[in-house]
């Protein structure tokens, strides 16, 4: 072997070693979101779904803490996935949906309208929890571009170690345990909360200077509708039954969404006035004083809304199909185990 060739091979080996070290350090330093802030692990779980879905939910905590796919399946035969994340902004929902529609053909897409109030990038921490879990694609690239706050840069998303290198002093056993693989934290995208903190506040939302929903948000809503229709999916808008002072759904916003939905012949369900009909008990069905539903509340809502969906939208009953029976059956069993564990801890 010539000296030159040996040098080339040595250089190549050195580069490979450096790349491997870099990749290892990056995998070590990025947050794992397994034991705390599990919201950060949610987006990536979609890629492990073994079945396709007739219904896709996109949006913020008003979907991922409200709708349980195993309930929708076992009671109505509806296959679904909740691609939600904390403070998921509408352009993020759009690009996530764009990505999902490359992979499957749902009949219905349900979008949680609460995030329409945000017309500009908001918060880097929430961005990372939504965007870092996406596989690289044109959709991810565009989602990042639309989401970056001041001070963020694309390079830190391409190489997350640039953002998280300072975590070296905060590394815990979680970072080593989940270095190469993670456990699922959701149930078909639903993130359960089992705590109970009754809703006691009667405070309403603060008065606003401007009640117009941002033009950017409404433009993305238009795009979302076009995207759904181009893929043969029906878009449905939804406001969850929660309404707390910090996340207040104003009548003016409701009117704007209603008007848009009416103009575009899109279904819109504002579930705030339906809490009694759903059977929600604000002493028992919330884990944070009425901001979000807990598992008990989500079960009631999923059961109630599933009936609405079946009545209003043509959806096949997939019960009896071996793969979906197995998948959602295991999901329901896993959720039951969580409920039992929670019950035992309380006793």
């Amino acid at each position: 072997m010539s000296v030159r060739l040996k040098r080339i091979l040595a250089a190549a080996a050195a580069i490979i070693v450096l790349v491997l070290i870099f990749a290892f350090l990056q995998a070590l330093l990025v947050p794992k979101y397994m034991e705390s802030t599990q919201e950060g692990a949610m987006i990536a779980e979609y890629y492990d779904e073994p079945v396709s879905h007739d219904v896709l939910f996109v949006g913020d905590c008003e979907v991922y803490e409200c709708f349980i796919p195993s309930v929708l399946y076992q009671e109505y035969g509806i296959t679904s996935y909740v691609r939600g994340s904390a403070q998921q902004l509408i352009w993020q929902s759009y690009y996530l949906l764009e990505e999902m529609l490359e992979r499957e053909s749902p009949k219905v897409v349900i979008y949680s309208v609460m995030a329409l109030k945000y017309g500009t990038p908001q918060n880097e921490a929430y961005n990372r929890m939504t965007l870092d879990g996406m596989q690289w694609s044109k959709s991810k690239w565009n989602a990042i571009k639309a989401s970056m706050t001041e001070g963020e840069n694309m390079l830190s998303y391409i190489f997350p170690i640039l953002r998280f290198h300072s975590r070296w002093s905060d590394l815990s056993s979680e970072d080593f345990t989940y270095l190469f693989s993670k456990d699922p934290v959701t149930y078909g995208g639903y993130l359960p909360q089992t705590g109970v903190v009754p809703k006691t506040s009667t405070r309403e939302g603060d008065k606003l200077k401007d009640y117009r929903l941002p033009e950017t948000s409404m433009a993305y809503l238009d795009k979302m509708l076009k995207l759904c229709r181009s893929h043969g999916a029906e878009l449905v808008l939804l406001k969850s039954p929660t309404n707390s002072w910090k996340y207040w759904w104003y009548d003016a916003w409701d009117e704007q969404v209603f008007a848009w939905a009416d103009e575009h012949q899109v279904g819109y369900y504002n579930l705030i006035p339906s809490d009694w009909e759903i059977g929600l008990d604000w002493d028992l069905d919330t884990y944070d004083g009425g901001i979000h539903l807990n598992l008990s509340g989500a079960e009631k809502l999923s059961s109630w809304f599933g009936k609405i969906l079946k009545n209003d939208v043509e959806l096949p009953d997939r019960r009896g199909q071996a793969d979906t029976d197995d998948y959602y059956g295991k999901m329901a069993e896993r959720l039951n185990q969580l409920k039992e564990k929670n019950q035992n801890e309380q006793d």
Binding site: C61, Q87, Y126, S201, K209, D210, K246, I291
Partner: protein, 169 residues
């Protein structure tokens, strides 16, 4: 020439120090611009303040509304109601910071004795004449002092709301 160089270097150093001192002096001037405060029972409250430092001196609150943030349960927005006014804070689990103070009735006063129910002329007399901005059926006056803003809502020529908050960056 060899003697001039050290003298020139010394002069440059002095100039540089003078410029830096001037810059530092300028920054000090900015912090001396003051701020809007609300005073209750001798305790001053202002946006950006560490609420833990004054919480006890304000006495028992009448109402407390709390709201956690999505995915960050330790990060809470809180509104303490003291009857005539309320204080909005953000608590990140380590520090609780005042974000906004809202006057709720005419039993308490803000800068220069301004209170809800005063005529807008009194606002101009105390804080200076300004162009009103209209939003959601109300007219607003915004006054800046340091890093704080006093927002005064005007309806039909009278003060209907007074808030003190941090100036947006």
């Amino acid at each position: 020439m060899s003697k001039i160089k050290p003298i020139l270097a010394a002069l440059c150093a002095v100039l540089l120090l003078a410029v830096c001192a001037g810059c530092a002096g300028g920054q000090e001037n900015n912090t001396q611009e003051g701020r809007f405060e609300f005073v209750s029972g001798g305790t001053a409250i202002w946006p950006g303040q560490n609420f833990n430092e004054i919480k006890d001196s304000l006495g028992a609150y009448l109402t407390l509304d709390e709201s956690a943030s999505c995915a960050f349960p330790d990060m809470k927005d809180k509104v303490y109601g003291y009857g005539a006014y309320e204080v909005y804070t953000v608590d990140d689990g380590k520090k609780e910071t005042v974000i906004r103070i809202t006057l709720l009735d005419d039993s308490v006063t803000a800068e220069g004795g301004l209170k809800i129910g005063d005529g807008e002329q009194k606002v101009f007399d105390v804080l200076g004449k300004k162009e009103k901005q209209t939003a959601s059926g109300l007219e607003y006056l915004f006054y800046v002092k340091g890093k704080t803003v006093m927002e005064i809502g005007i309806f039909d020529g009278y003060v209907v709301s007074i808030q003190i908050m941090e100036k947006d960056n």
